[in-house]
Structure formats: C-alpha cells, structure tokens
C-alpha cells in the first residue's frame, strides 16, 4: 500500500509534467495538403443530411413526431369506428331490450 505522501507527490509531479511543453507543429507541406483539400469537390448534400439526421436531438424529434402522428391517426380511426359502430350497437341494445321485455 502506497503512503498518502507518496501518492500526493506522484499527483503533483504528474500535474507538473506539462511544464516546459513545446507547441506541437504540423507535419511539413501542410499548405500543400490544405490546397489539395480546397480543390476537392464539396461533400455531397446527401451526406450532410445524413450527418444532420444522425444527431440525437434530430432523430429523437423525428421519432417523437412520428409517434404523435401515429397516435393522432389511431385516435381518429377509433372515433370513426365508434361513429360507424354506434348505430349497430343501438340496434343490438334495442333487440336485447325488446326480448327482455318479453314482447314478441
């Protein structure tokens, strides 16, 4: 088991390890590579769209919209079915009450 003093000393030395750091430099001929990149055709629009769609906020938003639309359509469908079913239901109810009352 290492002593607390030893650990503190290691931490201090590690935090000081960036002292005297020199600036990192690009590889030679950076400007040539940059010019080659500038001459390349632009990234396809479709690729940009894919990158945009891959963002969690966008994809979750689209999913939420899709679910809401589905919910709305389902609600509408049930309402329409209710409207269609209602006369039939009334008819059955009438029939039941007709027989329950014992009249032929």
């Amino acid at each position: 088991m290492k002593s607390r003093e030893h650990i503190q000393k290691e931490v201090d030395l590690t935090l000081e390890s960036l002292e005297g750091l020199k600036r990192a430099e690009t590889m030679p001929f950076f400007y040539t590579r940059l010019m080659a990149r500038l001459e390349q055709p632009e990234v396809a629009v479709w690729n940009r769209w894919m990158v945009w769609l891959a963002k969690p906020a966008v994809s979750l938003g689209i999913l939420l919209l899709f679910l809401m639309l589905n919910g709305y359509l389902l609600m509408n469908k049930y309402q329409q079915e209710d409207e269609q079913v209602t006369p039939g239901t009334e008819y059955v109810a009438q029939q039941i009450s007709y027989f329950d009352n014992g009249t032929p």
Binding site: M1, K2, I7, Q8, E10, V11, L13, T14, L15, S17, L18, E19, G20, L21, K22, R23, A24, E25, T26, M27, F30, Y31, R33, L34, M35, R37, L38, E39, V51, A54, K55, P56
Partner: protein, 209 residues
Amino acid sequence: MPVKDYVNMTETAGKAIPRPDEWHLVERLKKGDAAAFKLIVESRKDLVYNTAIGLLQNAEDAEDITQEVFVKVFESIHQFKGESAFSTWLYKIAITKSLELIRSRKRKKRFAFVTSLFGENNEPRYEPVDFVHPGVQLDNRERAAKLFHAISQLVDNQRIAFTLHKIEGVTYQEIAEIMGVTVSAVESLIHRAKGNLRKTLEDYYKNQA
C-alpha cells in the same frame, strides 16, 4: 469566389512580408489575395494544430481539424468583422470543430455499442488512451500520458480552459474572450479543472498500489 479560381490565382511573388500584420492580411484575403492566405496559414497553422491536438489527443484528427479550420477561414473570411483578434476567431473555430468531432465520435461509439448488442462487429475507433503530446519533455512522457487521460475526462468547459492555458499558453483574458465568459469565470473553470484532475490522479495512483 469559387475555390478553383482562388487556387489558380497568381500569388504576389517576391512580396514577402517579414512581420505579417493580422488586420492587413485579413483585408488582403477578403480581396482574394492568395499570398495573404498562405501567410495566414503558415503563421497560424501551429496555433490551430496545437489547440486541436490538445483537445482531440490524436495527431491525425488534429491535422484534419486544422485543415477544416483554414477551409472555414477561407470560406467565411467575410464574416470576420475584426471585433476580436484574428487569433481569437481562429481559436473559436478550432475549439468548435474539435468538440464537434469529439461529440460525433461519442455518438458513433454509442451507436457501435447498440449495434454490437445485435451481433455486429463494430468496434469503437476513438479511444484517447496513452496519448502523449509531441511537445512534452522526454522525462515527463509517462506522467504526461496519465495527465492527458485525466484531461480527456473533464467536462468540455474545463477541458477547453485548461487546454488553452496549459498547452497553448493563452492568457486568462484571451480565454475569456474565446469562451465568451468573464476572467473570473475562467479562473474558476481552471481551478475546478485542477481539482478534478487531482482527484482523478489520486484515484489512479491509489489503485496502482
């Protein structure tokens, strides 16, 4: 101005400027001067690269982002109004692009985890482990690798402030301008970053026992 036209422009040969003045160069670039763009790139490429490598902890990604930054400078130089120093603008672009890449890699990593659940062999590629900054002194390389690993675990704001100050040597005042916060906020961010790094390193060395 189309890129091709720009690239084909004739440089103002022989008119080397010994101490390129930022404002003058920016004005020349706005007018489409290829020599001005070259001078800007040559004089500022290491500033951008060093910032990017500090944040990304990967030399190839840093080179890629440095190129992207100068492509952005080329395309958007007319948006630079001179309200801040040109270097501040460059730092902002470099940080934004570096963070975009880090976030994109994290998204891919999450996606790779999900797809791996369904049996696809999609290993995450981005793991900034054991990175050593090329400017670190030879004696400090092993410790610096541990420190960089701890830096990669900091939250974005603390990582940006700490990296700019310790790796790029930017002053608190300029970091405040780059990040759009007050100087005292920068002091606080760096103080908290140091505290978190100390805690991470303490845990690491305790577990080494």
